[in-house]
Every structure is written in structure tokens, then in C-alpha cells.
Assembly symmetry: C2
Amino acid sequence: MAQIPTERRFQSNDLEAFVARALIAVGLPVSDAEQIAQLMILADLRGSDGHGIFRLPQYLRRIRAGGMNVTPNIRVVEETEATALVDGDNGMGHLVVRFAAQLAIAKAERAGVAWVGVRQSNHAGPAALYAMMPLERDMIGIYLAVGSANHLPPWGGIDLLLSTNPIAFAIPALQEPPIVLDMATTVAAYGKVKTKAQRNQQMPEGWMIDHFGRPLTDPKRAEEGFLLPIGGYKGYGLALVFGLLAGTLNGAAFGRDVIDFNKDDTTTTNTGQVIVALNISRFTPVEAFKRHVDQLIGEMRNSRRMPGVERVRLPGEQSHATWLERSALGIPLNDALFSDLERVANDLGLEKLSGN
Amino acid sequence: MAQIPTERRFQSNDLEAFVARALIAVGLPVSDAEQIAQLMILADLRGSDGHGIFRLPQYLRRIRAGGMNVTPNIRVVEETEATALVDGDNGMGHLVVRFAAQLAIAKAERAGVAWVGVRQSNHAGPAALYAMMPLERDMIGIYLAVGSANHLPPWGGIDLLLSTNPIAFAIPALQEPPIVLDMATTVAAYGKVKTKAQRNQQMPEGWMIDHFGRPLTDPKRAEEGFLLPIGGYKGYGLALVFGLLAGTLNGAAFGRDVIDFNKDDTTTTNTGQVIVALNISRFTPVEAFKRHVDQLIGEMRNSRRMPGVERVRLPGEQSHATWLERSALGIPLNDALFSDLERVANDLGLEKLSGN
């Protein structure tokens, strides 16, 4: 029988400080390191276990191999009143997309909507983080990205030409938590496959198939197959379109140009992302809109359920509950991940993590 | 054994003229009737059989019952440099969304992007028609709509609170036809269910289930069940978010407020739609972008296939091929639909259709 990994909990502040120390140790400026650490741990707080501190060893490996720029000159290369193209200068994705989101919010303040594309960026963690940034200014956020490795063939094909290219939407409510939909265009995100592998768990059928179309359930054999798109050709179509919008239009990588950043630590990824901010007040009074969203959430939640279903959930509800729980009780890290982080601490000569 | 319906072909010009005559007969101004007829028959040319002339009897019934305004005052009620909210005054959806698309294109010319929302509109046919409008000006188009009847419960629920809320994207290429993705957030669109019913065909398993979760394959029993969303909770999330963006934000119907326009010919539907136009030239030179899209299309099409797959297709490829074929050979109408149109001609005292 496989051993069930045990888990210990850590306060988010302690994890944030640890991540920041590690990033500073490999050359990032203090304020950049702190901002990235905050976003990475926010991913863990919201339950995106495949996109938070779990990614730290990989980020550090790439930085130390020279594959990411620790002091990027992030700059606007094209601009109108409502659009911009940002060059991330191969900086960490968290910094680059945060810059883009702030720019989009500022532009949408006047123009009503803003579409900001990014190139020369990198993996930035969960899509929801960035879609949620406009919420603070009573705006709706939309985020698109080209994934950081190709795991998906075109529909009917077997060559891995597409990534799981995710999309996220964030829409504010009044009393209720915001509606936050964060989804890969595949049935499962590749981060979830990595988490299963790291936990020594099998995947359910329907996540991946091999080159002959047979179910693939061992996450350690992930390279022998590919992820399945949602709705068959529809998910393939979405992955393709998001890749054209977030990659090709921005001069970022898409298709055969995408580097597998899980295997290659040195080649510039030229990751592309898009953030859209939409100013609610330019369409309707904000409070009335939020109250209406509350009402619709209630309609869904209080509707009749199929036999055996405990609760009708809204997108983002589970992540919000996880955020509340982990903010109070700490973030669980399993033994394997904890060991990885101990190795990071040893390698960089950092103060080690201590749990609750 | 069920009878297989026979089909005759009709030239698109003849069908357009017939639709226009019918709309004029129920009170629409000539130029509006012609514009609507052109869009409806374009739907048939592209193979959207559930959204073209098939809908004419229903539109006429609603108009004659007073459920749609034949002389609407379509107007802008909110506006910034890059956004607008359009009130369609309960006009036919084709006219209202066309107005919105033209406004979005004009705004995106300067602002780089434009987001135009619509309320007090109606069913407008296939999403692709409107997403494709910005293509002529070297822009990318995106279209979202609240469907005109609820056929989808929230995930885990059984109350029909959501429609199949579709999305469409259109992205231009240089030599290749544009990439046009037009998809409902359900495995099948409700229009396809109606087409199956009208043709006396069964639906495949996976399109619909009944209230107990059992497969429902008889399209004439469609009211006893509901459509399945793509990717389970993901498709539900998309339908919800598109409904909030195209409906709630615009002051249009969503959730319990949505009228089933298949059953109710008189109540104002207050349909909501969104059109986004994105100006490629504000990000990258247009011709280089289109050439790059051609190259990516080639990468997909020429990639290796699974055993038994004849061709890797791009979104919109099939519709483009159908458009070429039907433009040359005419649009096939089955006997049942032809009879419906004969009845329309009799009712309104119109010149009848004659086939090839």
C-alpha cells in the first residue's frame, strides 16, 4: 500500500517571508520579491496548490540557470487610450501581469474598458489572482494566458501544439463573495496532474489519454499522453483562440514556439497573457449591479438539486471558503513539498520553515 | 421505419427575397427587412440550420402577436470612448446587434478596443455572424449573448435558470479563412435539438439528461430534461459568467427573468448581448499577424493524427466550406421546413418559394 502523505500547516505570513527570502537570495529586489511572494501564497490560501509555493523550487532553478531576468525593465511598447502591449523583459510573470493589470485598471477608469496584452512574461500562477485585481476598483476582470508547456493536441491530432490556455473571470457581488471562474480549457489543469504525481496519487479517467486514445491515470506517465479538452472540439477551439489572443497578437510564443518550462530552465519562454478590466459604472450603477449579482447567486444556490447533491455552488465559492479557512488555520504542506522547501533552504542558506 | 425527409436546394438570393417580403408584410421597413434577411440567410449559407430561415415562422408569429417592435428606436444610452450600452427598443436582434457591432468597430478604430453591451434586444441568430463583423476592418471580434430560453440548470441542480449562453470569436488570417469559433456552453445548442425534432431524428446520448440524470435522446421530449454543459461545472461557470456580462451588466434579462421565446410570443424578452472589437494594428502590424495565423493554421492542420481521423480541422473551417458549397449550389431545405414556409407564404399572401 502507498503511504498517505501527512500534512502540516504553516501561517501564510511565514510562507510569504520564506518565499521572499528565497527570491532575494537569488537576486530579486526586495519589493519585487515581496510582491511575488504575496501573490504566490495567495494562490495557496485560495487552494491552488499546484500554483503556489509548490512552484518555488522550479522558479529558483530557472532563475539560477539564467532563464528569468531578476531585474527586468517592464515597459509599455504600444498604447492607446484603452489598450496597451507590455514587454515583460523576461521578468517573473507575477510582476509582469501585475503591472499589466494596474495599467488596465487605470485605463478602464477613463475609457470604460481596457485590454492589455503582455509578451516576454513568464508563468504567473493561477489566472484568478489577476482577474480579481480589478475587483478592488469595482471593475470586472478577465484574464487569458498561454500555458507554460504544451499538453494538448489539436482535436483529432496527437502532436502537442497547444497548452491548457486558461481563462479567468471575476465579477463582484455585494454581500456574497465575488464570482470567480478560473478554468483551464482542459478537463484538468496540468498543475493538478503535477500535484497528483507529487502526492503519489492516481488521476481519475477522463483527465488524460495516451497516443492511442486509452485512458492514462498514472501522473508519473503524463509525458506519454495528453490532457483532454472540455467539450471535445470546443475546448480545443478555446485553447486555440486564447493562444492567438494572449500569444500571437502580443508577439508572444504559441504553438510550436512554446517552451516546456518544466523541462527547460534556460530558454526564454516569451509567455503571453492578457488582462481586461471592465468598468461597471460605465454601464450601470455599481451598487445596484452588485445587489443584482447577490440576488442571482441566491437564485442558483437555493434552486432544487439532483438527488445526492448537497449544495449548488457558485464559481469561486470553494476557493473563497478555502481562503477563509487557510487564513485562519494556516496552509497545509505535505511532507514531500516540505522536504523540497527544506532543500531550497539548505541550498540557499536560508532560515528554515517552521510549522504550527 | 421513419421516413427520411427529402431536401431541395434554393438560391440564397431567392431565400433572402422571400424572408424580406415576409418581414415587410408584417410591418418592417424595407431596408431593415433586407438587412435582417441577409443575416438570416447568411446563417443558412454557413450551415447554422437551426438559426436561419428555420426561425422565420417563429419571428413572424412573435411580431404578429405584438412581441417585437417592428420600428424600434435603437439608441445609445451610456457611452465612453471605448464602451457603450445600447437599448434595442425591443427590435429584432439582428438589427440591434448589427448596430452595436458597427458602433464597436467605430470606437475600436480610435480606442484600440471597444466593448458594446445591448439590452432590450431579441434572438439574433448565430453568434458567429456578429463576431465576424469586425473582420472587415482587420479587427478581432468577440460576441456573447444570453440565450432566448433557459435549458440548463446550475451544476448539480434541476431548475432551468441558465441558457446555453454562447460565445463566438473571429480572428482573421491572410490566405486561410478566418478562425471562427462559435459555441454554446452546452455540449449541444438548443437550436440543434429543435432541428433534430423537426427532422424526426434522435439525439445522441450526452446532449441532454432528464431530471433523474438519465440520458434523454428524443428531441420531442426536450422539455422533460436539460442540456449538459461542456466540462461539467466549467460549462455551467461559463454560462453563468456570460449571462452576467451580456445580461445583468446591460440591464437585460438573466436567470429567472429570461422568457422562453419558444413558448411565449408576447412578453418582451429583453435579450442582452455583447460585442467586443479589438484593433489588431494597435498591437502588431496587421499583415504580419495574419501571416502568423496562416502559419499556425498550417501547424495544426499538418500535425499527426490519431488513427481513423481524416483531417485536423480549425474552428470555422467547416462553416466556411459549407458557405462556399451553398453559395454555389444553393441552400437545402427539407420538406418539413419547406411546408412551414409555404404556410408562411399563404398566411401573408406572399409569392411562394421555388427551388432549383
